[in-house]
């Protein structure tokens, strides 16, 4: 696959140039990568399985809150045990998705959209109202990033490389998944679920598994998200966060995995970087969305595909 080499090349160049970028730009690059992981998990649902999820921020939130609570209440996850927290975060994301999936997978199309939205808001409600655990609307402030094996993640460049590593690992894991027979069955479900069912596939189970896996990657991104910002707040879990991720996928090109990263890059840099330069950044972002939907139904990745469908 050419796309993968191009992606690796681009990431390699970014990694080489990163030490020369300003500190704020490095922070934004790390943002793009973390959101890129969430976007890929949404893409697994939207692009490959045909399930538009509007609640992906919930899993990110579960991972992030777990990380923050463990770190601040128990001092856990600030050394080698960071890797345990990564596992726990993925497990928590997957478990939440496994529970929500029982309700959500029954539906499809707009109904799936609405159910995932509602379930996502449940997580927000918990974060906002369970003051003793989550700090309510004040959120949780973390006291610093982990240190292990002589690596101080408090250094933004080091943290950026760690996030880059996680992104590449996630990308390959998900790429392997979608190229496997299981991945092909998901595409089959997206194209025509009834036919897949007649062929003897348990389509409910396939969709459910995809949903749980997406939740796990959401949880992973959450762990990184908490350490990236140093604060976890209910606004991380709010509806706009989920909408953003969905838009990133649509913008980048669903069904490509890479598209999620591209979309995240465009959105983060337009929003965070352009906003520091000009007041009218919102119009630019709006125009980009509208133009993409009007002229690039395949997203930005659609540009590279040429004539192939």
């Amino acid at each position: 696959m050419n796309r993968i080499y191009i992606l690796l090349g681009v990431l390699g160049i970014v990694a080489l140039l990163a030490p020369f970028a300003g500190p704020f730009v490095i922070l934004l690059l790390a943002h793009v990568l973390v959101l890129g992981i969430v976007a890929m998990s949404v893409d697994l649902l939207l692009g490959y399985t045909g399930l538009p999820s509007l609640g992906q921020a919930a899993y990110l939130g579960v991972g992030a809150y777990l990380t923050a609570i463990l770190a601040t209440k128990f001092g856990f996850g600030l050394g080698w045990d960071f890797w345990l927290v990564v596992m726990l975060g993925m497990a928590a994301g997957a478990a939440t998705a496994a529970f929500f999936g029982l309700f959500a997978i029954r539906a499809s199309g707009v109904y799936f959209l609405m159910i995932t939205l509602a379930l996502g808001m449940c997580v927000w409600g918990l974060a906002y109202r369970w003051n003793s655990l989550t700090g309510g609307d004040n959120g949780i402030n973390m006291r610093g990033r982990p240190v292990f094996a002589g690596m101080r993640l408090a250094d933004d460049l080091t943290f950026f490389y760690l996030v880059l590593g996680f992104f590449i690992a996630s990308f390959f894991a998900l790429h392997l998944l979608v190229s496997s027979p299981f991945g092909k069955s998901l595409v089959g479900i997206r194209e025509r679920e009834l036919r897949m069912r007649i062929l003897g596939y348990n389509t409910w189970l396939h969709k459910y598994i995809a949903f749980v896996i997406a939740g796990a990657f959401g949880g992973l991104a959450g762990v990184l998200w908490a350490h990236l910002n140093g604060i976890v707040s209910p606004s991380d879990v709010l509806l706009p966060a989920s909408v953003d991720v969905l838009l990133m996928v649509v913008l980048g090109g669903p069904g490509t995995l890479v598209g999620g990263l591209l979309g995240a890059g465009v959105v983060v840099f337009l929003r965070e970087y352009l906003a520091t330069l000009v007041q009218w950044w919102q119009y630019v972002l709006g125009a980009v969305y509208v133009l993409t939907i009007l002229y690039l139904p395949g997203g930005i990745m659609g540009l590279f595909k040429g004539g192939k469908a």
Binding site: H31, N138, N141, R143, N229, I231, S235, D236
Partner: protein, 410 residues
């Protein structure tokens, strides 16, 4: 060759000229989203003082960089990092919500940059958590600060049974907590607490549950909630006296209100109707420049700019470094627009608290009848600990939904 040398010399001269004495101030306020207009009030206040000084604080040229924090804690962290690292500001000012204050303060500690929360009122920033934030000094208020005296005032004015209805988040909890603590210590009783979620527009489910035998209602509303609640209360025919938390009737919401709020009482460290020469002048100039009456958001940031200027006067325009700046700042005694202000040992202002009543009248020579927060009583030199003393006060937990407990609620 000569020309090149000259050019190089000129460039050198220019660069030293520019770096002479500069003060970079990063300003965080919501510029988009539901709080955008409040953010505008904040920026206007600071900008007005800067314009009055022609952008020059005792010889230091002020660079004023405004960033949009969107009213969201994670965004404000990102913007604070941008200000401190990319723009290398000497200080960050602002933030709106209590949660934003909590989010920016650790950034200031981490990057050794001064942070001045001019609006965020979270009690613990300058109370139980102060030790974590050595580069922070607050110029605004703590949530409970004006509401301690208000509790006292309620006792003195014969109220004994009060129902509290307040927005359900940390700021609301702290405001109600402060009022309840003092009110119950002087013999009053909070007989019911109702917590509608932040952003509630329809109070239909809550108003009928208000206990009929209460003799007043204490309300804390924020933004659009403040407009809806008095209206719906009046429509429901409830004529009990209303005592309100500071933001329920601040000058940001007051111009949009109707006659239903006449006679409502609230407390804050500033009122646009404060009848002093300083404030009269401030209101006149602000109104001329921005076309509206200044709110406490504007005053707080105007005064913050003035305080920074006072410190810079002492150092003759040279940046003294964050530690020295904080220590100079907290030793200031200022005759500000809101009245005399000095700082307590926990870097929070000691200031007048005004008990205010909404009245319709002409003020400061303006021709039209308008709603004003007339000051009916002044509690001078109120500290964040009220009369309890620092140590005794800090022994109790921070005010929350369950503290002080509602002993008389059944």
């Amino acid at each position: 060759m000569n020309r090149k040398l000259l050019a190089a010399l000129a460039a050198l001269a220019l660069s030293t000229g520019a770096s002479a004495q500069e003060l970079k101030i990063g300003f965080l306020a919501p510029m988009t989203g539901i709080f955008a207009q409040i953010g505008k009030d904040m920026e206007n206040g600071f900008q007005m003082y800067l314009d009055e000084q022609k952008g020059n604080f005792a010889g230091a040229k002020v660079t004023f960089i405004v960033e949009d924090e969107e009213g969201k804690p994670p965004v404000s962290v990102r913007k604070a990092e941008k200000l401190a690292r990319q723009d290398q500001v000497q200080m960050m000012v602002g933030g709106l919500l209590a949660s934003t204050g909590y989010a920016i303060a650790p950034v200031s500690t981490r990057l050794k940059t001064v942070y001045i929360p001019s609006v965020p009122a979270a009690d613990d920033l300058t109370q139980r958590d102060l030790a974590q934030y050595p580069y922070m000094v607050r110029t605004g208020w703590t949530s409970s600060q004006p509401h301690h005296p208000l509790g006292r005032w309620a006792c003195d004015n014969g109220y004994t049974r009060v129902v509290a209805i307040a927005a359900d988040y940390a700021f609301g909890h702290e405001v109600v907590g402060g009022f309840q603590k003092v009110f119950e210590d002087c013999g009053g009783r909070i007989v019911q607490k109702i917590w509608p979620p932040l952003g509630t527009k329809d109070f239909g489910p809550y108003i009928p549950t208000i206990k009929q035998d209460a003799d007043a209602i204490f309300s804390l509303m924020v933004g659009p909630m403040a407009l809806q609640f008095p209206k719906q209360l009046a429509e429901a025919g409830i004529k009990k006296p209303i005592i309100g938390g500071g933001t329920s009737y601040d000058e940001f919401v007051l111009p949009s209100m109707g006659d239903e709020v006449l006679g409502h009482v609230s407390a804050l460290q500033y009122s646009a109707a404060l009848d002093t020469p300083k404030n009269r002048e401030f209101v006149r100039k602000y109104r001329e420049k921005y076309g509206k009456v200044p709110s406490y958001y504007s005053e707080s940031n105007y005064t913050t700019a003035q305080m920074i200027h006072e410190v810079m006067k002492q150092t003759k325009g040279k940046w003294p470094g964050p530690e020295k700046f904080i220590s100079l700042m907290v030793s200031l005694k200022l005759d500000a627009v809101r009245g005399p202000v000095r700082f307590d040992e926990m870097r929070n202002p000691i200031q007048n608290i005004y008990i205010k009543k909404v009245e319709k009248k002409k003020m400061f020579g303006y021709e039209k009848d308008e709603l004003w927060n007339s000051v009916i009583q002044t509690y001078p030199d109120v500290s964040q600990f009220w009369t309890y003393g620092k140590d005794a006060f800090l022994k109790q937990p921070v005010y929350s939904r369950d503290f002080p407990p509602c002993k008389y609620c059944n």
